[in-house]
Amino acid sequence: MLSLLFVFNGVLLAQDNIPAANKSCLTCHQREGFSTKHDGKEISLTVDPAVLADSVHKNNPCTTCHMNIQGFPHQDVVYGQELTVQVTKSCQMCHANVAKDYKASKHWKATKNGMADVSCNACHGEHNVQKLELTKQEEVKMCTQCHQGAILEGYKQSFHGKAVLLGSQESASCVDCHGAHKALGDEVAASPVSAKNKPATCAKCHQDAQANFAKGSEHLTLSAKDKNKIPYYISKAYIWLIILTIGFMLVHILIELFGKFRKAKKDDITIDVDDSDIDLN
């Protein structure tokens, strides 16, 4: 029976770049529709060998990430958020440097407490782990899956946001200011957007940005409720300036056209300037 399985393996798994150990896992796990029930939820157990073969981790045994699964039948299987935390912990075995930053971040805290899944895999992919080479636009899209509301609105109204949303490759995206793994929140001194570090963060693009430059809110929305109302009132004043000025122009033109329409009956040139006093000869 066992030998029969291995023959099967050879036929089905022509992908020779998959480590031998993984082939036995895939015997079951590549089957479509392979699933289990946990807490009343259907959980898929299928892994596409092609996706795996494409990942930067293609040479890792499955058990580098799924560390606790060492035999068959599997013992102590975990699912959902527990699995997420477990796998994330295994990442640091190799990626120790980045993991140090990540573990200090709010993202790890949220993941650990089950508030949200902002694990390594959430951004980098699961079985298709890739080096993230996102464009600024893709990056903003990823962050704004969770970060919406006033923060997103303010970014969209800022020059950085408008530029990036229109395809700029130079303007600042989320990560350019906030960093990727060290998402700390601006109240933490070590954060790139803390009051202390902001000047240096701005200076990555804006040469010799001083403290004054970094003072002020980036994610600003024009609103009367904002602590800074002046830009809001200026933009409102312009609306009325436009209505009044352009409105006056249009009405003036319309009156002139009505006048010309009425006069157009006459054959000669319309304006009756009394030019008898212009001395032409």
């Binding site: 249009l250 212009i278 001395d279």
Partner: protein
């Protein structure tokens, strides 16, 4: 030097209105302003489909934005040159204040409107510049100062914050954004009417290219100035004054054209009110 008064078989006596220098200034301003509008409005309306098209026309946001800033700076150079020109003019000739608004202009606005409403038969006799031209010139000065100042403040934020806090940049940014729409609409409405769609000049007043205005046009547009010129010169006898301008005013009496234009500007007025009046209050 261009002749102050020349003669054309088709158009009769021709008066020099714009020197070559002035025409070049107008042309540079026309090009740079138009470029600023085309490359600036997509930033303001970054969600609009047309904005994305304009961005791709420039091959990406960053190129479009550099084009914006470069043409903005060229516009400011031409603007600075204009003041050098004015100073040189004042030094070489007499300073001229003919462009400044006077009480006469207020009287003439009222009288022009009355005339077009059929309340009086007497059309005001405009001088060198009528109120329409003065409004336009002064709006250009105001607009360029606002756009230039705010544009430079935004493009050199590090320098700006040496003098003012950052929210001031945000306030000027709101002004840049509002003034851009005001300026673009003023050109589309006021300038396009006065230079192109006015039935007196339709399809175009060519003075911006030739620099010349016919005697017939002068009688019509600047009778007071014409009288002053004729009083001044001492070679009146040599001038052929009996040839009428056969090229101008071709559509001045076309009720078809005037009717279409009335419809056009009425629609424009409705659009203006619908777009800008904040009914949501």
């Amino acid at each position: 030097m261009e002749e102050r008064i020349s003669f054309s078989e088709e158009r009769g006596l021709m008066f020099q209105r714009l020197t070559l220098n002035q025409r070049i200034q107008h042309f540079v301003n026309f090009l740079t302003f138009t470029t600023c509008v085309i490359t600036g409005l997509p930033i303001k309306y970054h969600g609009a489909a047309l904005s994305a098209k304009i961005v791709s026309l420039f091959g990406g946001f960053d190129t479009m934005f550099y084009t914006h800033v470069v043409s903005g700076i060229l516009m400011l150079l031409a603007f600075s040159y204009h003041f050098v020109y004015l100073a040189a003019y004042a030094y070489l000739n007499e300073p001229s204040f003919a462009i400044l608004p006077k009480w006469k202009d207020a009287v003439e606005i009222v009288q022009t409107i009355k005339y077009n409403l059929g309340l009086t038969d007497e059309h005001p006799e405009y001088g060198r510049y009528c109120y329409k031209e003065k409004m336009e010139y002064l709006a250009l000065i105001w607009g360029t100062v606002v756009m230039g100042l705010s544009g430079l403040m935004m493009y050199f934020p590090q320098i700006t914050v040496k003098f003012v806090p950052r929210w001031v940049i945000e306030a000027f940014r709101a002004a840049h954004s509002g003034e851009a729409v005001l300026a673009a609409l003023a050109i589309v409405v006021w300038h396009m009417y006065n230079a192109h769609l006015s039935p007196d000049f339709f399809p175009m007043n060519k003075t911006w290219i030739t620099g010349k205005v016919s005697k017939t046009q002068m009688e019509h547009e600047h009778p007071e100035e014409l009288r002053e010129i004729m009083d001044e010169i001492d070679y009146k006898e040599e001038l052929k004054t009996d040839v009428e301008d056969s090229k101008s005013f071709k559509f001045a009496n076309s009720r078809g054209l005037i009717g279409v234009e009335i419809a056009l500007y009425a629609v424009f007025l409705v659009w203006l009110l619908k777009t800008f009046v904040p009914l949501g209050f």
